[in-house]
């Protein structure tokens, strides 16, 4: 047994109904190192972590921690054995205090009563050691997401973990907060604790990790020391394409379809803290991409355009006329449509049929005196199922029984049948498989050809490069740059994100 290996997961298999989530996956994490676990959505990262932390049980395989084969049946057991996880969605109790959240489940007691003084002292000590200065008695929910994240990590540290798993910890942090987090990770390393670090941001992988593994479609496709792999190799492994095809993966431009007049213009939009005086202009027939890290205020900006959030100052012009968009109904009246990034909680009505989900936004217009016309409904549904190649055996089946990609297509169809002039898409390809991804992007292009303007947010920069006529880069709630046509490349966008200064 190698003394330097802390964790060895061998031949891990996990089958979900209809999907092989993990196929003979092997993961080796060295002692005191930061191990980046990479892969696209649905590659099996989360499942692997869930197996490791006892949330899910594996079908077969072996987990060796510190030279001992272990069986983990619950998160508590994992904690007990020294594996601690910070989940993507924060798993803390919002109504309890910071110090309590750190020690919940392992309360510090004296004579079987909780010793609050000691709890506070130790919580304070841990957070101070991480360089975070807060009152540990404050209620967690009153703090920013970043602080909550740090509390979650403090909790992980406090159990004397040998291995800390960070599941996309940076996704909701701004750059200065990310640096604090990295400092914390370096501290962990210095104490000999191993870290599994899941992230989508390549920069972070190269900045932080010592070694890395890449999963794709439930299989391990690469594992290596980070210094021995290039960025391009990494990306090509993740998306399963070699580098040359990525470069040529750029659509041809057709400027003639884009007209000069703006369809929707947002001027000096402010909605603190994520939108700080933004200007945005979408022209007829163009695909405008919004690039920026998560938390840069891109989702908040497009939600403003759709009237989904409260606008504290600024105004909109639709087709050159000053227009109030104070709620979603006003936006829809102005022919604006919006597909949320969160399909499950902001998109589908799960037990409703595909047919009804698809026609939800236009029910009013295909009804007379409030009576739905089933025939009209069927006509529309048939048309869009065909046009978007939605795989559905019967439009009366509940939408939740569809795959993610098909659900997304239904949601797209929901808006397309309303004939919008501006379609806003937030992460349209999140959590769906590669094939469906391509279909959706092709569809978006087709829509633009047909004269619909598209405003698209994506954290996968390749998608923006592939689809957009123009990209607006935002950072900390402000615009830091714009790119057009051939100038749109992954590196150019990254450069703007990294170095762009505010322009007005």
């Amino acid at each position: 047994m190698d003394r330097d290996v802390l964790l060895h997961m061998k031949n891990i298999n996990k089958q979900y109904p209809g999907v092989k989530a993990l196929n003979n996956v092997e993961l080796i994490v060295s002692r005191g190192k930061v191990h980046a676990l990479m892969g696209e959505n649905g590659a099996g990262k989360s499942t692997l972590i869930k197996v490791l932390t006892g949330v899910e049980t594996m079908d077969s395989g072996e987990v060796i921690l510190d030279g001992e084969t272990i069986v983990i049946n619950s998160p508590a057991e994992a904690n007990h054995k020294g594996v601690s996880t910070v989940y993507q969605e924060l798993d803390l109790i919002p109504d309890l205090s910071i110090c309590e959240n750190i020690f919940l489940g392992r309360e510090i007691r004296k004579n079987s009563f909780i010793d609050w003084k000691e709890t506070e002292r130790r919580a304070d000590e841990i957070l101070k050691s991480m360089g975070i200065d807060v009152n540990v008695n404050d209620i967690l929910s009153t703090k920013s997401t970043a602080i909550q994240q740090m509390v979650s990590i403090a909790r992980a540290i406090s159990i004397n973990a040998k291995l800390v798993v960070l599941d996309e910890p940076t996704s909701s942090l701004d750059s200065s907060e990310v640096q604090i987090l990295f400092q914390v990770i370096r501290d962990l390393k210095a104490r000999g604790i191993s870290v599994i670090f899941i992230t989508h941001r390549l920069d972070e992988v190269f900045e932080m990790s010592d070694e890395m593994s890449i999963l794709k479609d439930g299989e391990l496709v690469a594992t290596s020391k980070t210094e021995n792999i290039t960025r391009l190799e990494m990306v090509s492994k993740m998306i399963g394409m070699d580098a040359s095809s990525i470069v040529s993966y750029r659509k041809a431009y057709n400027d003639s379809k884009i007209k000069d007049e703006a369809i929707v213009k947002g001027i000096d939009l402010v909605a603190k803290p994520k939108v700080n005086g933004q200007n945005i202009e979408v022209r007829k027939g163009e695909i405008l991409g919004l690039a920026g890290l998560l938390g840069s205020g891109r989702t908040e900006l497009i939600r403003l355009i759709f009237g989904a959030d409260y606008l504290s100052s600024g105004h909109f012009e639709v087709n050159g006329e000053k227009t109030k968009i104070h709620n979603t109904r006003a936006a829809i009246k102005n022919k604006i449509a919006y597909c949320s990034e969160d399909r499950k909680s902001e998109g589908i009505i799960p037990y409703m049929s595909v047919r009804e989900n698809l026609t939800l936004a236009i029910m009013g217009s295909i009804s007379r005196f409030g009576l739905l016309s089933r025939r009209e409904q069927n006509k529309i549904v048939d048309k869009y199922i065909k046009a978007l190649k939605i795989k559905v055996s019967n439009p009366n089946q509940p939408i939740r029984s569809l795959s993610g990609g098909n659900q997304q297509k239904v949601l797209l169809a929901r808006w397309l049948c309303a004939h919008p002039e501006l379609l806003i898409l937030d992460e349209p390809t999140r959590g769906i498989d590669v094939g469906a991804k391509k279909e959706i992007l092709d569809l978006v292009e087709q829509l633009a050809e047909d004269g619909i303007s598209v405003l698209m947010v994506s954290s996968e920069l390749e998608e923006l490069v592939q689809s957009c006529d123009r990209v607006q880069v935002i950072k900390d709630g402000k615009t830091v740059g714009g790119l057009k046509n051939e100038a749109i490349t992954v590196s150019a966008i990254m450069d703007k994100i990294a170095h762009g200064a505010v322009i007005n």
Binding site: P17, G18, F306, A308, T328, R329, A331, I332, Y338, S340, S345, E346, G347, I348, I349, P350, Y351, M352, E356, L360, A361, M363, G364, S367, G370, L371, L372, S393, N394, Q397, S401, R414
Partner: protein, 321 residues
């Protein structure tokens, strides 16, 4: 990959059917048992009495179906019944039609109030309707100093006593019309979809441009409206108004009927027909117990057991799909 999916779908459909028809099957079973064991059960008289007795809890349950389908609950219905009863009985001097109209409008307003508070402040419906339940009962009691108000208006009493063609009680017709309208709106009209959408995914509903504020007010107002009619019918039937007891605890029967009927308790598709069967099941149990000279209290215990069995079976079947 294709085959198992198809199998799963088929199984889904079978299980869905089972869930859809389980209240009907339970009702069927209970009726058969009664036809065999309860003397005189299968007679016109029994059926008519059963229909008369089920009317008010059925009406309330219909409204409750929408409320529960939208993810809420309304426990103020009984107090609304008492208020409508009192208002209309007190004002009966100005004419039965007028006083009943004013009474029902009062009831609807209380529903609008409930819906508006729930939607505007995003408060748990159970608490809002609890405070209305307590408060509105108080208002109803004040109107006549908590004393019973006798009703001497033949026009008003007509609603509770008249038989169309000498056979069919008028309130049964009202209930029937209410069932048809509620079913029609739930299954064929835009509003029915909005109820389900609000109940299953509030955020998504707001994002497709549906005015959830208005939808919720509509739902609670409808529920209060149906409760108001129930209040009027009950008042007419006993030709008196008693603010202390009229409609008290009816919310429980109504909720039970909805639960047995298969409308998801956390919001989802309103199952009007299921609710009708649910209300009938509860009433048949009561009738059965009465007719067999079993002490009335057994019906309470039976009801409790049936509610639990129905919900447990739903859970079980849902977990299978």
């Amino acid at each position: 990959m294709v085959a198992p999916l198809k199998e799963r779908l088929n199984r889904d459909i079978v299980i869905n059917r089972l869930i859809d028809y389980s209240p009907l099957m339970v009702l069927f079973f209970i009726v058969i048992v009664n036809v065999i064991f309860t003397p005189n059960f299968a007679s016109v008289n029994t059926l008519r009495n059963l229909a008369i007795q089920v009317t008010s809890s059925l009406l309330v349950a219909l409204g409750m179906t929408w409320v529960i389908a939208s993810g809420g609950i309304d426990i103020s219905v009984g107090s609304v019944m008492a208020l409508v009863s009192m208002v209309s009985a007190k004002l009966v001097g100005i004419g039965a039609v007028q006083s009943i109209t004013i009474g029902i409008i009062t009831g609807i307003l209380s529903g609008v109030l409930a819906g508006a508070i729930i939607a505007k402040f995003n408060i748990q419906p159970i608490i809002v309707t609890l405070s209305l339940m307590i408060g509105i009962r108080g208002v109803a009691q004040i109107i006549n100093d908590s004393k019973i108000l006798r009703l001497d208006s033949p026009e008003y009493v007509f609603i509770g006593r008249h038989r169309i063609f000498g056979e069919i009680p008028i309130q049964v017709v009202i209930a029937f019309v209410a069932i048809i309208i509620m079913y029609f709106i739930s299954s064929r009209m835009v509003f029915g979809r909005k109820i389900q959408a609000v109940g299953e995914n509030h955020k998504a509903t707001e994002l497709v441009g549906i005015n959830t504020f208005v939808v919720k007010i509509g739902i609670y107002a409808t529920c209060a409206f149906l409760a108001s009619i129930a209040g009027v019918i009950d008042t007419a039937r006993i030709s008196a108004s008693d603010a202390n007891i009229l409609g008290s605890m009816i919310e429980l029967d109504a909720i039970a009927a909805v639960a047995i009927g298969g409308t998801p308790m956390n919001g989802g598709k309103p199952n009007i027909i299921g609710t009708v069967f649910g209300a009938l099941i509860i009433q048949v149990i009561t009738t059965m117990v009465n007719m067999n000279n079993i002490s009335f209290e057994y019906s309470l215990i039976l009801k409790a057991i049936i509610i639990i069995l129905a919900l447990w079976a739903q859970r079980f079947l849902h977990s299978k799909r």
